[in-house]
Structures are given as structure tokens and as C-alpha cells.
Amino acid sequence: MRTMTYADAIDDAIAQKMSKDPNIIYLGEDVQMLRLNLFSRFGSEKIINTPISESAFLGAGVTAAMAGLRPIVEIMLIDFIGVAIDALLNHAAKNEFFSGNQWQVPLVVRASCGGGYGDGGQHEQTLWGWLAHIPGLWIAVPSNPADAGGLMTASIEHDGPVVYLEHKLLAEYFRDYLGSGGRSNQDYNVPRDGEQGRIPDKWTPIPFGKASIKKEGSDISIVSLGVGVHRSLEASKRLEEQNVSAEVIDLRTVAPLDTSTICESVSKTGRLLVVDEDYKQFGLSGEIAAIVLENSIHFQYGRVCTEQSIPYSHQQEIQILPSTQRIIDSALGLMNKQL
């Protein structure tokens, strides 16, 4: 076992793969600086700086993958996918199907996501529910260094398109790049266990669609992902003080979704609280409720999500993103309801 930051773990897993597979190329804006270690190790033929033209280079990633390469395309912030959504929606996700399975699209789209560092509503969204809505895309959202490397390894090995979302509050260099900017006077509520942690000596893939039970409990199931996992674990400790035993599940991947782990847990506890940093309406939190209902499980339900555009003001932002206090309040509310 080694110790590594969340951000380094991702690049380390990519480097392990690139050292073995000459067909991996890495494309994106600024990547020769942003991925300096990869650039200095693999050179400009493999780590390719692109113009600020997401629709061109993401679209290029799709056919490059079809024609024999295994591209990793970095979209710096997932918010920017808006200008290139066609490549994901109408091409990456559909070409295997449209071609009658002649072709596969082994493409990894790596993007940072998430808020909590005061960058405003065009730079702090998560959008994983919006992307998972599209059939054919896999979505990974790691919450800690070990999962970050393992899921990246699995993403590169997958023969279809994957959107890999790294949370900026966990990725130290993004926090510095976009938040602190070299200043030591900025303080964000960073989950320490997510930012740095123990990782295996050699990366092996973590399967998609396999959630991780971070803490077992019997009264309520808290289902989350990304930074929300850490907020939920903190909430579960404080709920323990009030004799509420919470089970905390880290989904790790949104698509495919580990429905059996969710359903087993809710069958046991009878209460489901989804903590989702993505928008509340028409998204992951509602989808999970529908799946549990479809499995004829009787349960009480609540959710802590982002319910509006993210404000610039840091004070307001921390109110509207899922916080430990909101999770505790919602969990206690559910405990007061009759099963």
C-alpha cells in the first residue's frame, strides 16, 4: 500500500495503462501543462494540446476510438460539455448501436465536476444525472484516491464510452488552479479522506455498477457519491450520538447503477435518503426512488440535493450544496415518520 492524493492517483492509473498500451492518446485543452507529469513521461505525440474547440476534439475522440486508438479526452470542466454534447449524445453513445455492433467506442471523457470553492454556477455543476440519462454512456464518480485510480483503470479497459468525473474539491490541483490560485488564505470544507488516502501498489480495475458500503447501519440508508459520501459519513457519526444507525453507501458509478446494493439496504432499514450534489429535479435522486419502488419495497424517502443554480457567493453556495447539517436534519425527519 502507498499513500497518494486523489488527483495523483488518477494520473498514476493513467500512466500505468499508458506504459503498457501504445494506443492510448490523451487529448484536451492545456493538457501538456495540466498533466505535466504525463506529458514529460509520454511526450507530445501522446499528450496532445488541442484548441479550445470541445466539439471538434471530443468528436474526434469518438472516431479515433472507433478506428483503433483508446483516447482519453479531457473536458476541463464538465460544465463545458454543453458546447460539445452532440459528440456524446448523438455519436459516442450511439455509434455501437447504430453500426449494428460492428464498431465499439472505447473512449474515456475525463472531466472535473462539483462545487464548494466559490467559482459560480457555470463552473461547479456535476451533471452526472443529465449524462446518465443517455443510454450507452457509463459514468464514474470516485470519492477517494483508491477508487479514483481503480475506476480510471476500469474506464480505460471498458470497450464503450465512459464519462469519468473527478470532484474538484477532492482534486488538490484543481482547487488550487481554480480556487486558491496560490493563496494560503482560502479555506474550503475539504473532506480529508477523499483528498488523500491509501492506494494499492498496482492498480486493478474496480468494476462499474458495484457500490461500496462505507458504513453499515440498521435504521436508515444514506445513498450518495463524490463529496456527498464524506458529508454523509460525517452526518452518520453525529446521528450515532442520537442513537440513529445510518448505513452509508457510495455508489461510485451512476451508470451502470448498483440497484441491488441499494434495494438490499433499503429492504433492511426501511428508510432511504439520497444525498446528491446534482440537481434535484428529474435526476439521480428520483431515479433511485423509482427503482426501489419498482422492486416493491416499502420505505420512507427523502433527498438532499442541489435545487437551484449555484450562486457565486461562497456563503450562499455552502447553503445550497448538500451539507452535513442538511443531511442530519433530513435523516432525523425520516426517523420521525412511521414505517
Binding site: 471538434a56 471530443l58 469518438v62 483516447p71 452532440d86 449494428g100
Partner: protein, 334 residues
Amino acid sequence: MFKSRLFEEHVVQIWNDGLITGEMHTSIGEEAIYAGLIDHLADGDALALDHRTTSPSIIRGVDPKSLLLEFLGHENGLCSGNGGHMHIFSKSHLLASSGIVGASGPAALGFALAAQHLRPGKIALSFFGEGAANQGMMMESFNMAAALRLPVLFVCKDNGMAITTQSSEVTSGNLISRAQSFGMHSLELDGADAAVVWRESGKMISGIRMGEGPAFILAKCHRPQGHFLGDPLLRISEKPLKELSQISGPLIKSVTKYKGATLKQRMSSLKKVTSLLGKTMKSGKSGNRDPVSLLRARLVKESSGIEDLETEVINEIEKVVESVLNIYMERSES
């Protein structure tokens, strides 16, 4: 070219008979562009197509039977009936298409990147219309291909119409100087003349293979079928009495009865539509140079045995169509 035309005329008939669902964008009138360019290609070269897939697929050597089965939505079609004519894929020919206007730009970049890494000397062709030349992702692709010196030939098939809008009305500058401003070697060609396309593009393609970076061709053409089968402008211009009787009631009311713009502005809208219809009628009758007839006339003059070759192709395509329709009917009956 002749095989493609013959095949596509059958497709039109089958669409008219109602066996093909939805839209059908033919490539009738564009054949010389495909024939002149695709003849320069070898194994490992890639095609990024737009939504007009029939002619380039046939000319590149895709099996006509599996193509027609695909157009009919049959499970034994080229793409198992999941693609249809706008989403034709043939992995063995490195041929991919898209129904999204402009998507053949980024698609060619990806094929070219793969060629650079895996198949040096191979190239990617991107086909699109002059309407797509105004799409952001197409101009992003011009820039990125030129900046990264990717082996791409961008081929703009210019019929002057962006669906039913005249391209001149919505396009600034001109496309040759636009392409040149990205640093690309650019040529304007007569897209009706396969020999011209073949001759002029040969050197350009060799240059791209040698790593000189992307190039651009603007090929003028005329598509007698318009944007798609059942094009409203063509329908009105071909059968004015029938079509106008259906739209004239609401149209007269919109001009005279309801509140809206000034009378002058309304008359100006009407005049614009009428003028467009007039132009459509005129272009249908003006005997635009048809690429297939043009080539045939030249071949008849220059070489013997053309009739035998034609008979052979007619027999082949009729056999394909008959056998596909039999397969289709068997499924319908079962």
C-alpha cells in the same frame, strides 16, 4: 457512378412505394464528387460522411444488398436495422456517417488522428454540404486539422441550398477564402464532372498523404431531388395546383386577415417565397449538367463496350433489388 445512380433510382421508387420509413436524403447529382475522389483511396483510408450515404457507400464498395436491407430496416441489413440511411457504418471500409449537420468534420479528425498513429500515409475524407460549412464544429475542425496538420481532405458539396434556405442568404464571405484563411490549400471544382474532380484532387490527396496537412475542395453540384424526397419546394414547383390548393387557404388568411406585420412586410414575405419557388422551377427545367449523363456521353465517344458494361450493371442491381424485396416481403408476410 452508374451503379450508384441506378441503385438510388430504385431506392426512390421503393420510398415512393412506402416501404422505406421516414426521410430519405438521396445523393443523386453528387455522384461525380464521390467517384472522382474515392477512386484515389486505398485500404485504410477513412470516410466521414454526412446524411447522404448511398452514393459514397456504393462507390466505396459496400455491398448494395446489405445497404438496401438496412434502408428497409431489416435485421440482416448492414447495421442490423438500427442505423437506417442517415447512420450507415461499415467498419471494414472505415466508413461512418451521421445525421447531425457538421458532424463529419470532427469525425474526420478522429479518423485522421488514428491514421497518424496507426496507419501513417492514410487519410480521412470529410464530406458535407455548404450549409454545414456554417456549423461551428465544422469550422473548429478546419482549425484543429490545420493546427495539428492532420491528414484530412474536407469536401464541401455545394448545391446552393441549405435545406430550403438559399445558402447565399445565410453565408458571409466565400468558402474558398474561408478555408484558405485556415491555411488550407483550397480548390473550387465542377462537381458534375468526375474526370475534373479525379484529375484535380489527385495531387492534393498525395500531398495530404505526405504530411502536408489538410486541404479543402468546394465542389459545385445540383441535386434534382432537393433536400430530401418529398422536399416541399420541389413538390410545389412540380405540382403547383395540387400543393397550393392545400396551403393557399391559411396562407391567404395569414397575409390578409390576422394581426401581424405591416402589409408591405407581408407582401415582401410572399414575394420572397414566390421567387424561391420560381427559382426551383427554373432549376428543374434548365437542364443542369447531370454527372452521370455527362460521363456517359464522354465514354460513348471515347471507348467501346460501354453498353455491355451498362447491361451488366443493370442486371446486377435489378437482381439485388429483387432479392432484397423478396426477403422484405417474406418478413412482412411472416
